[in-house]
């Protein structure tokens, strides 16, 4: 117990580190939620509307009203479309077919072409999906008023994240990252620090069992991660507007299992290295990079070469992020996260066993 108290003293007295640890989640969430997103606001839009009827005008009005677009140019002939892209002034050109409204009334379908600037595939994708959404909304409104099943093509339906909000994707990712950072990095550093300072020598030459040394190292960082978990969830619900669709209880259970995995990972690192710097580098490079790159947080795992897909299977964050998305975003229940829970538990048990075995009760 006094060992745990001592660990808390270490953490609380190092004010800078503690401030970083507590503010990091806030900072990252805000960074990922706002700055680094694929959300595109106020995209410039050009429109070629040869029909100029009540339907197209209504749709253009909707585009203009949306926070994602601002219509900057009304084109008069198709040749101008390429011109617009060459100048790089617009993100997308919306081309209505001729006799748009007439077609809709008579045949029930109408064509609208969305031409986006493909040089930036991410934003192009977003822009296109915003646009299709806006058109879909109009279509629905029209249906309510006229009770005629009109069809405006193309139509893409996006599940769970109709506006492709970046936060939906990043909140689970940031959770996976922060918890990994705090648990793995901080436990490995704090044990490496004992080795570096030479206090580990004294602790070893004492009746204290190594397992107690380990456990008392884990407990404070466990609490710290709980604080961070709470911060992240509060921020994402109240600031980023990402609701917790599923059960909060299972979300926390899943997080606890993940925290356990990352703590054991930190222990394993610390039993291998002898200095704080190496502990930092290993947890920074070897843990953080794969979490960012391979967990599916930034790049979809399905698009990776087979080798990396295999590699991503052993990254705990990947399973955690999938699980969090299932519960938090999709609102699925416990049964849906059984695979993730069992994989993470398995990893945790394996890692803790490995680090117990690896822990040296002598200096070499």
């Amino acid at each position: 117990m006094s060992f745990v108290r001592k660990e808390f003293h270490h953490i609380f007295r190092d004010k800078t580190t503690m401030a970083i640890l507590l503010l990091l989640p806030v900072l990252m969430l805000i960074l990922f939620g706002y700055a680094i997103t694929t959300e595109v606001k106020n995209s410039k839009l050009a429109i070629y509307d040869p029909s100029n009827d009540m339907a197209t005008r209504a749709i253009i009005e909707k585009f203009n009203a949306s926070e994602y677009f601002s219509v900057v140019e009304l084109l008069t002939k198709p040749a101008e479309i390429n011109e617009q892209f060459k100048n790089g002034e617009v993100k997308m050109v919306v081309v209505f077919s001729e006799k748009f409204y007439e077609n809709m009334l008579h045949t029930g379908t109408a064509q609208v072409e969305l031409i986006a600037d493909g040089t930036d595939p991410n934003s192009a994708k977003s822009v296109v999906s915003y646009a299709t959404n806006i058109i879909a909304v109009y279509q629905q409104e029209l249906f309510k008023v006229q009770k005629v099943p009109f069809q405006i093509n193309p139509q893409v339906k996006l599940l769970y994240n109709p506006q492709m909000k970046g936060a939906y994707n990043f909140v689970p990712g940031v959770m996976g990252m922060i918890l990994m950072l705090i648990c793995a990095m901080m436990t490995s550093i704090s044990i490496a620090r004992e080795k570096e300072l030479g206090t580990m020598e004294i602790l070893l030459v004492s009746p204290m069992k190594p397992i107690y040394i380990i456990i008392s190292k884990m407990i404070p960082y466990f609490f710290l991660s709980l604080v961070n978990l709470t911060t992240i969830l509060l921020l994402s619900v109240f600031v980023l507007g990402v609701p917790i669709a599923g059960s909060l209880f299972w979300l926390i259970v899943l997080s606890l299992v993940y925290i356990f995995v990352t703590l054991s990972l930190g222990l394993l690192i610390s039993s291998i290295v002898n200095s704080q710097l190496v502990a930092l580098l290993i947890s920074g490079m070897v843990l953080m990079l794969p979490v960012i790159m391979l967990s599916g947080m930034m790049f979809p795992v399905e698009n990776m070469p087979v080798f990396f897909q295999w590699l991503s299977q052993i990254i705990p964050a990947k399973w955690y992020i999938i699980g969090v998305k299932k519960i938090m975003i999709k609102g699925l229940g416990f049964t849906s996260i059984i695979p993730e829970l069992s994989v993470l538990s398995g990893m945790g048990i394996f890692l803790i066993a490995a680090s117990m075995k690896k822990f040296k009760f002598r200096l070499e």
């Binding site: 206090t199 004492s206 200096l363």
Partner: protein, 310 residues
């Protein structure tokens, strides 16, 4: 060797300990005994193997060969037992710098399943000196006070054997004196103390010493005996140009060995018929001025230098 037979249960017993780090032999065939309640000094320069020896005896390292028994327990087989009953102060200051004096002491007390109150008598003399600063962070203490705190922490569980690895390195002379008088008091309580130091002047404060160099013991004896065994006459010499003097003295055929010792050179002379006058004339010939020559009593350092020459 005779002493072993008189007292069959030494506090520390080592037999032909060897340890290498790769190609570097840190310890070569070390054997020695330390009796109960003895202050045993390991004297030698940095890198001689002192810390390695301490780590083997405190169960932190495994020797490549040889056996060691501390307080009746084998350092390999019964390492848990040893960890319960020895106190260890590593060479570097190894306490928590961000905890206060009192928190450090409290922490180590609980690590050893005891409390400050329980063994206060033992550490009272030492701890009282730092008690006025008990709310100060350990990192902000002076070198001498850090050492006292480290000693208090190592004594908190009333160990039977105390291992002090270079406890006075980086400590001011006054604190060093105090520190040694504290060790004397602990010895009176029956605690065996194994202490290492690079300072030769501290050797005479031990009951027995072992001179160590390059992982080998040069000699094990009482400081008095070691000094007595210094067979030759010893001179302290100085002049106006000390570096030339060293070279000239070494070239002199009467000189057995000559080393720089602070502001004087210590010269060992083999010839018993030697007269100071002869050497003075020789040095004057070489052009030295303000020459001072005197016979001196050898110290441990002279013995060490002589032994390491063999």
């Amino acid at each position: 060797m005779e002493e072993q037979n008189i007292n069959p249960a030494p506090s520390i017993h080592c037999e032909s300990l060897s340890k290498s780090y790769g190609k570097v032999e840190a310890l070569k065939n070390i054997s020695f005994n330390v009796e109960k309640g003895e202050i045993f000094g390991i004297i030698g320069p940095d890198g001689a193997g002192k810390t390695t020896l301490f780590r083997i005896l405190t169960t932190l390292l495994l020797a490549d060969s040889g056996t060691a028994i501390v307080d009746g327990f084998d350092v390999v087989k019964n390492y848990r037992e040893i960890r319960n009953r020895v106190g260890y102060v590593p060479g570097r200051f190894s306490l928590y710098q961000d905890l206060t004096v009192e928190e450090n002491l409290n922490f180590f007390a609980t690590v050893f399943n005891t409390s400050i109150a329980e063994n206060y008598e033992l550490i009272k003399d030492i701890y009282q000196q730092i008690e006025p600063f008990k709310t100060r962070r350990a990192g902000k203490l002076s070198g001498g006070m850090k050492q006292k705190l480290a000693l208090s922490c190592a004594l908190i569980h009333k160990p039977s054997v105390l291992f002090l690895d270079e406890p006075t390195t980086g400590v001011d002379p006054v604190s060093r004196k105090e520190f040694w008088s504290m060790l004397k008091k602990l010895k009176e309580q029956g605690i065996t103390i194994l202490v290492s130091t690079p300072y030769m002047d501290e050797a005479s404060l031990c009951d027995r010493i072992a001179l160590i160099q390059n992982g080998q013991f040069l000699k094990i004896d009482t400081p008095q005996n070691i000094v007595k065994q210094f067979g030759n006459a010893l001179l302290a010499v100085r002049s106006d140009s000390m570096s030339k003097l060293l070279k000239d003295l070494r070239e002199n055929e009467l000189t057995k060995s000559c080393f720089a010792f602070g502001d004087k050179h210590h010269v060992t002379i083999q010839d018993s018929a030697f007269k100071i006058q002869h050497l003075k004339e020789y040095l004057e010939q070489k052009g030295h001025t303000s020459i001072e020559i005197e016979f001196i009593e050898p110290g441990i350092e002279d013995c060490f230098m002589e032994l390491s020459q063999r």
